[in-house]
Structure formats: C-alpha cells, structure tokens
Amino acid sequence: MDFELSQKAIDFRSQVKKFISENLTSEITLKMHETGTFNDKSFNESLAAEGLLAGAVPGYGDRDPVELYLLFNELEKAGAPYDGLAVTMLVAGVINAVGTEFHREEVLNKLLTGKHNCCLGYSEPDYGSDVASIITKAEKIENRWVINGQKMWTTMAHESDWVLLLTRTNSDVPKHKGMTMFLVPMNTPGIEIQPVATMASERTNATFYDNVEVEDQWRLGEIDDGWSVMGVALALERGVMGGTNPAVPLLKHVLNWAETTPSENKSLMIDNALMRERIARTAIINQVGQLLTLRAAWIAATGGMPGVEGSMAKIYASEEYQKVVGWFQQMAGAEGLLSFGAEDAAASGWIDYDARHAPVTTIYGGTSEINRNNIAERHLGLPRNR
C-alpha cells in the first residue's frame, strides 16, 4: 500500500475539504442533533452539484474507491450529517452491481442528484444478527408482489423514497435460500413509519408493511437469491463508508476543552499527565483507524473485496472509540455529564454526546461479535461455531 495519495486523490480531498468549509454551517450540525436525523438533503444536493457524489457510489463509473473513502472520512472528521448519504450511496452501489435498466433509470440516476434518500430494511424485531431468519413475507400474485411484515431499526425511513427490503419468499428451503430483495417506493400504500427514539440524539424507526403491493420490476436480483444481494451490500458497506474515525471529531472537541479548563494547582487540563497520555493514545488510535480503512479502500481500488479487512477496521475503530470516550468522560468528572446547551458542559456537551452515541457503534452495521465470527472463520480458518 502506498502512503502517498495520488495527485488525483489529493486534489479530490482538497475539493471536499473546501466544500465542507464553505457549506457545513453550524446551523446544519445543530439541526442534525436537534432532529436526530443525520441527513441534510440540501447539503447532499450541493455535494451532487459540486460533482462529488458520483465518486461516492461504490463501484460506479471509473472513480477510485480511495476517493469514496476520502469523501466519507472528511465528512466524518468534520462532524457533518452523512449517515443518510452513506446508506443512500450504498444502495446506489447495490443497484449499480445487480440492478436492471429500470432500477438505474428510476432510482440510481435520481440518487445521484442528492435529492433522494434510501433506507435499509433488513432487521426485524425478532431477527437482528440472525438476519437470514427474517419473516417479512413477499408473495407473488401474477406479476405483482404483496408484502406483509414488520422491520425494526429502519433508520432514515422518514427521509427516504425507497427502502431496500429483505423479504421471505420461500419457507420450504434452508433459510439463506428463501429470501428476495426489493426496492420498495416508500409512498406505496400500506407502509407505516413509527419513530423510535434512542439514548443518543439519533432517531431511527420501526416500519410496518400491510399488504404492500409492488410490481415485479421492483425486485432487485433473482427470486430467492436475496442473500447474494445482501452479500454485495455488506461487502460495499464495510470499512470505507465512514464510521472508522469517530474519535477524530471527539479529540478536537476534547482539545478545545482541555486547553481552556483549569486543573489542579492552577494548571490547565492540557498539562495533566494522564490527559496527555490519553491524547497521545487517541491520536494513535485515529491513525490506525485511518490506515486500516485506507487499506480496505486500497484493496477495493485494486479489484479485491475487502470483506474481512472491513470487519477488522470496523471492530477496531468502534471498540477503541468506546474506550476513548470513557477515558475523557471520566476525566471531565461531573461536567462530562452535562449535555448540549447546559452551562459549563465539558466540551460544550460533545463529551456527553459521544458517550451516548458510542455504544451503538459496536451494534449496528454488524455487531462486534458477528464481525469476530467473520474474522475467526474466514481469516483465521477456525471451525464454524453456529
């Protein structure tokens, strides 16, 4: 792997940095934390207008996955709302890989304008890690499908025009062989969205499907072959689409705080030896997170599928992020508990926010345990234990 980015990638990164400094206002970040919706359509639209979105679709056109990584890494470091965009671009990537001409025209082209969003409908109330056991049912009646069931944790459903929906189409075969994937327009009659609040500011949803009818053209991939489509989606998701440098913005907030906050004997927190040790360790964690992500992007850029490498980056970054958040929250004492807007809140409430957000990072996108299973079986060659 080359530690020197290509000139093209360096130019791309400068363009992204410039875009962020000109377009990411404090109103946008404030709104994102007030509403819990980490998606800003007008921000996405400006990104598209700037020509930065085409490179954000994994596998699309001739753009280098390193650019995809750079875009999401810069957005993550800047604390921009990018969750909705990442999911949307992921779906765009799946369509690009397995979609029909109809899907490209009806959906992919629209996604590239930044005006539309997609959400992921995999998880259900009773099936999360064991997602291949889902029971939301799709039945074929002539050239139409009728869908019934419930999905859980359908983040961004309330912002989206389509949901990538994993359904059960055959219960008489082994569970992996009886699922079918659909792209369902969210305005189809019979879909209901209920908000689900979380312990951090981010919002997610439960979605209900009651006799939802779609034509066969909304099927993505072959009948009963939904698991292969999932495989594509998971391989595209892991590692390069943000989520591997969460402690970068945290460290920035912590530094601002430590440089202005008194410690014992009239010194500042930044002079405290334990604080300095932890800052140094966090800086190492951030570098390693970046290198592992860049490596996954590099593998993708040279034609490989960084499945296991993505798992490594994801586990490392999320587990270490939780450790780091814990350090700084404890160092901040009582003020580390105070939230956004509270007088004297450490790091203006960012420490409390990150401490609330961190737990979910080892859960969503495949829990640490599921990723460890993946590494143990596929990388270390240990026997399957399920």
Binding site: E259, I279, L382
Partner: protein, 341 residues
Amino acid sequence: MSADQETIQDVFSSFFTEQTGPESARNSMPLGFDAKAWERLSETGAPGMGVSLPAGGGASLSDLVIVAEEAGAKIAPLPIIDHVVATRILENLDSLEPEVLTGTLLAGLAIRPVENGVAKSVPTGSIANRLIALDEDKLLLINDEPPNKSLPNHGDLPIAHRGINGATVISEGTEATEVFERGLNEWKTLISAFLVGITRSSIEMTVDYVKERHQFGKPIGSFQSIQHGLADLPGLYDGARLLVNKAAWAGDREITGEINLTDNEISDFATLSSMSLIFAGETSLQATDRGLHYHGGYGFSEEYDIQLFYRRARAWSQILNSPSDECLLLADLLLEDNGVK
C-alpha cells in the same frame, strides 16, 4: 511491497528460519546472542546493508523494516537492528570502521542517555564492541571490551550496564543530539517491526495450537470465547504493521513537522516512530498474552515456544522507557504546534 522488497523478505525469512528461531534463542541463553548465526549473517553482508550504496549498503529504512519483522517472527537472538542503526550513525559521522561494516565487530546503541558516567541496561551491552552513547551534548563511542556476561533479564536479551571510561567523542553540540535523535527514531521504527514479527508468529502459533488441541471432544478453536479472543488480533497486527511501514516511509523521506492532530493527518517521522513503538508494543503484549493463555498450562511450561515470545514482547516494548512515558513524549510532539507546551 516492491519486487526487490519481496526478495528481501524471502531471503531473510529463510535465513532466520534456518539459522535462528526458538531453538537458537534457547541455546544462546544466558548470553542472549547466537555467535554462530551472527557469523553466517555476516557472510550475507547484512550487518552493512543499512549504510549508503557507495559504502556497500543501500537498504532504505522501509527495506530494513522487512528484515526486522522477519527477525522478530523468529525471535532471532542477533543484534541486527542495533547494529544497523549504529552503522548508519557512524557512517554519518565518518567514524565507520571496516570491521563494523562487515559485522566482525558488533556495534550497538545506548538508547538512553548516559547518567553519572554509566549507560544503563543497554540492549546490546554485554556483546557490543562499539557502543554509541549520548552524554549530555556529546556523542561517545564506547570501545572497551564487552563483558560477555548479561544481566539476567525477562527477555533473555544481551543486556548490560556499560561505563564510559576511555570512550572517544565522535560528535558534539546540536549535531550530536540531532544525529542521536534520528538514530533513535530509526531504532524505534525497527524495534516496532521486530515486535510486529513477534505478534505475527504468536497469532500463527496459537491458531495452529487451538486447531490441534482437543477438549470436550472438539478442537478448542471451535469455542467461541477463544475464537473471539483471537479474532481481535489480526486487525491489531495489520494496524501495527501499517503504522510501522508508514513511519519508515516518512523516515526515508525525512519528513519533519507534518502534524495536524485535529485532522488526523500525520507524516512527521519522529511522531510516527514513537506511535509505532507504543502501538506495536501494546499489540505484541496482547497477542502474546492471549496466545499464552490459549495454550493452557503448556503455554507456561519452558518447553513451549509461546513463553519465549511473551517475554520478548515485554522486554522490547519497554526497554527504552515505560510506554506511559513514551506517550508523554509523543504528546509533546503532537501538541507542540497546538499553541500549548
């Protein structure tokens, strides 16, 4: 890795496998040095490979990282890292003797500054014929007879204290401290690579063991707690390896001062070499700790190799200083440009 570097890896991997390895480590106790293997290594020209091309070397720091990782993977009881770093410093100061270049005389580095006339716990102290040491702002070359007797220690290393009586001054003032500093950063980078090698072998050895060892009628590697304890390690190994290689990349380009902490963009050599030592050190502790534990009682017995790796991981990761102190040095580098001391 370039094609040349792949060749370097092949050559040294075979050399350390054939000439060193755990048996050589055991047989060279209590001195901690395998003189026969060193002779063979000298025949290949390796002791001089780090000096400039015209002087007979030509290997970059990135090339040397490959050698160091392979040495670590076989816990080679050879002072190749210290020797190579010393030759680079000596060449720099026009003090390189031909016998040092060929490896006939062993050279090393007193990695910590001299205090009260003594260089303490020098990693090659019991065997080095030439020892570079920093005493205040003077760079000394200690050239008395080595004691050939090591202080008994955790990692079976050729550690000894050395006095500075009769040493010659090879440089003074800012030149001395700067040259020493640069050498020490190279040393940190290469020791990190050695630790990465230790990590790699510990993972391999343990994965093999848990596939073979049966309890309750199945391989212990089928138990999920063991799988998960091991599954964290490849990411740590890869991360450490990438970080060390990045440090070497920065070292070869002599990049200084490029540190943007809040943007996570860092290519300063001193900073990256310090990060590497801390991270590769910690990674090796975790890999050998889990490795030993998953060997059960056998892991604790003299007969099994994992304990050799376990002890060397601890020795190399803290022989320079405590990791917490290294973190404080690192914090100074990171926060210097941040308007704070």
